[in-house]
Each structure stands twice: as C-alpha cells, then as structure tokens.
Amino acid sequence: MTIFSDIGRYLLMIKGMFSKPENGKMYWKEFMHQCAEIGVGSLGIVAIISVFIGAVSTIQTAYQLVSPLIPPSTIAQIVRDTVILEFAPTLVCIVLAGVAGSRIASELGNMRVSEQIDALEIMGINTKGYLIMPKIAAALLMIPLLVIIAMALGIWGGRLAGSMANILSGSVYDRGLLESFVPYNVIFALIKSYVFAFIISSVPAFFGYFVQGGALEIGRASTKAVVVSCIAILFSDYVLSALLL
C-alpha cells in the first residue's frame, strides 16, 4: 500500500508545482542557479566518464572482432552506435542520478529538516513551485545537453584510444563513423535523455521534499532516491527501447 500512496503523493507533488509564480524573476534566478548546479556542476564527471567509455568500447570491440573479413572501420560504427544509443544517455544518466539526484534529495531534505521549507511556506510561497519546478526544468534543459556532449566525447575517446593502441587510424575511424549512420538514433537518445532527466530530478525531489526526521533520514532518503531513480531509468530504458526501436 505504501507504494501506491507514494505514487499518489508524487503525482500530487508534480501537480502542486504548477501555480502562478509569486515573482517570476526569483523563479528565473533559481532556474539559472539549478542549470549551473546540474549542468556545469556535472560536466566534469560526464566528460571523464564519456571519454573512457568510448575508449574502452573501441578497445573491447577490436578485441572481439578478430576476423580479417571485417573491415576495421566497423569498430567505429559499433562504438558510435553503442555510445549514441546506450552509453551516452543511459550510463551518463545513471551517473547523474548519483551526482545530481543525491544532491537534490539532500538539499531538499536538509531544507525540510531545518524548517527552511516551512519558512518559505509561511512567507506565502508555493514551495513545490519554487523549489522543485526549477530543478526539473533545469534538468530537462541541461541533461540532454550533457548527453549530447557525452556522445561527442565518447566517440572522440574511442578515436583517441584506437589511434593510441594502433587498432585503427583516425582517418579509418572517421570513415567508419559516417558509414550506415542512422540519424534517428540521436533522436531516440534525446527522447531517452528527456525521460531520464525528468526521473533524475523529480524522484530525488520527492524523496527529499517529504523527508521526516533528522540527518540520518536525509542520508537514507538520498540513497533511496538514487536507487529508485536508477531502477526507474533502467525500466524506462527498456520500455522506450521496446516501443521506439
């Protein structure tokens, strides 16, 4: 029964976000702040992960493609599609669920426990609108951008690893990237990243906003938020792949 009441509260929280802002400028300021926190704040880890994912993909693909009948440019094709379809949106978003999601849950949880949310409520501010909405909006803007950056860096990381390990030259890799390219894959990856962005921001916001207790509960809420977000991301990844591919 708890799961149903939690889903109900989650939906009511989402509904409660939509009201006329008390002051548009303050909401905009909070939105920009969240864009910086979620986008710029996560850029470093996303870049590092993406480069290494691309590099490892190239090396492992080359390791498995031992047949002389398969041209080396196929490695680039496989790396490209793997990075675009799965690694950039899904893996990066799982990492972001840990980085940005836990931060959102902790921030809201701390605000709840230290009565900062109550203070805002008493001022007459719609706290769901002011605290949660900008986070979700910022995630919807910044996470797809991070995923695009992850795609580019992942593919570049693959090229770098291919050259450095003498698996295939840069020109062969570039030629492989252009072969059998399906633009829809990028669109599919972006659709996934939008869905994941909503999950990464709204699920931790729910766990943080409704936390009860003290510091221990904030930690638990944060962990729970990351776990539930990761499961939701993987489940929706499966559903979207089944529906859209």
Binding site: Q116, E121, I122
Partner: protein, 282 residues
Amino acid sequence: MIEVKNIQKKFGDKTVIQDVSAVMKAGQCNLIIGASGSGKTVLMKCMVGLFVPDEGEILYHGQNFTSMDTKAKTEVRKEIGMLFQGSALFDSLTVEQNVMFPLDMFTNWPVKKKLERVNEVLNRVNLVEANRKYPAELSGGMKKRVALARAIVLNPKYLFCDEPNSGLDPQTSLVIDKLIKEITIEYNITTVVNTHDMNSVMEIGDYILYMYQGNKEWEGTNREIIFSKNQRLNDFIFASEFLKDAKDMRMLEETGQIPNHRNMDLLIEKDIPPIIPPSKEG
C-alpha cells in the same frame, strides 16, 4: 488579533490538541507554554496553516483562516512573520540575502531601497557588520536575530516565534525576549511565542496559555501566574527550588506574605535568626 476557536487535531488515533480556544491580542506577547509533547508546537503550526486542524477555526482579524482558499491563505501569510526554533535561515545565502529574500519575492522595490530596509531591520535587531556573513559563521543568538529581522522585514501584522530561546544562554535569551517585546509594541504586532523558558514567561508574557496533554489547562497574565493555584501549572512553572523561592519572593513583594512554610523547617534546623530590617532612625 488572532482568535483560536475549539481547535482539535489528531494524528492517526492520537488526539494531540483537544478543544483549545484562545484570544491573542495585538500589541502584546501571547505565550503558549507547556511541557514537551503538550501540543504547543502543533497548535502554533495549526495557527500558521502548516497543519490543518480537524475541527475548529483560526480567525485573523475576524477572517476565518481555516476555511480560506489557497489564494486567500497566501495573502494572510504575507502578513505573518515567523521565527523558527532552528532559525531556518537559508544556508546558501548571506545574512543580507536572507533578510532581503521576502523583499525580493514580494516587492518590486529598487535594490537601493531594499538594502536600506534590510539595514534598518538588521540595526533594529542590533546586528551590524554581519551582512556578508553566511549562517554557518554566526552564533546561535546572531542566527535568531537574523531570523527575527527576516520575519519583520515586510512589516508583518502577526509574529510567531517557536521556542526563540532554545539553545541560547540565559543572557542572550533575555536579549531575544527583549527584542521580541520591543518589536511587538513598536509595530503593534500580534506576537505568539511558543516557549518553555520561564524567564520568557515572567518577562514578556502579557497573555499566557498553558497547555497540558493537548488541553488548555490555564490562561492568564504573567502577574496572575504567580497567584495561580493550578497545581499542574505550578509544578511546571516553578519546577526547581530556586524558582519556588523566586515565586515566594515575588509574592512577598506583591502581598507582603508567603502562603507556605516551605523554608521554615530549614530555618529552624539551621537555627537561622529572622532577618530584622534596620530601622530608619538607625
């Protein structure tokens, strides 16, 4: 003025507040006192709308707050300032930004005017040269003063203070009490203070509501509390020997006699002679 009419609040099967009524007037400090778990915080949260009472009404200047729609409640809340037990300052904002926050949210004033108002209220709470500091850099007393400044920056009609002295030393507590009292009179605010600090009760309690296990046990002024014969109230207020002595002294001052023999045995046992005041003739 705030009127509380027959408020009842339950959490599950447990009744936390049972049929509590009170009238809290403007320009005076109205204190809700009681032991931990007596329901005073829940009552205050019902009054400000953080909890919805199961039964009863809260009236702000005759307007029924409990039956208002969200928009009307928001309008009333703009006239409410609240000082929280833990100060509830925004960690990521400086003192100046914390106090300016309600002005940023609800006014279209130019920055210069907002800064003037912020400095005015910070001066009012005797907090200068702390504008650029973050809450983590402040002492408990300073945090309370910043929170008080934030609560009054929009000139509220109602001020709620939830245990304003918790975690403060007695001297700082007195400073905060004095500030609350002065601000209440100066701006003619209806102030509601939730406390179990006996100094506050005696210093600023214009009206005192004593809660016991969710019920209104006693109400009166800080003068009347001295003469109350309510045993539960006396046990709660004058819990220590020191406070009992203080009560006796106050009664002696007021009436010229002490209606108990609490210290007589001690005097006889120690063979202490009675103190005879020196005659004016010398």
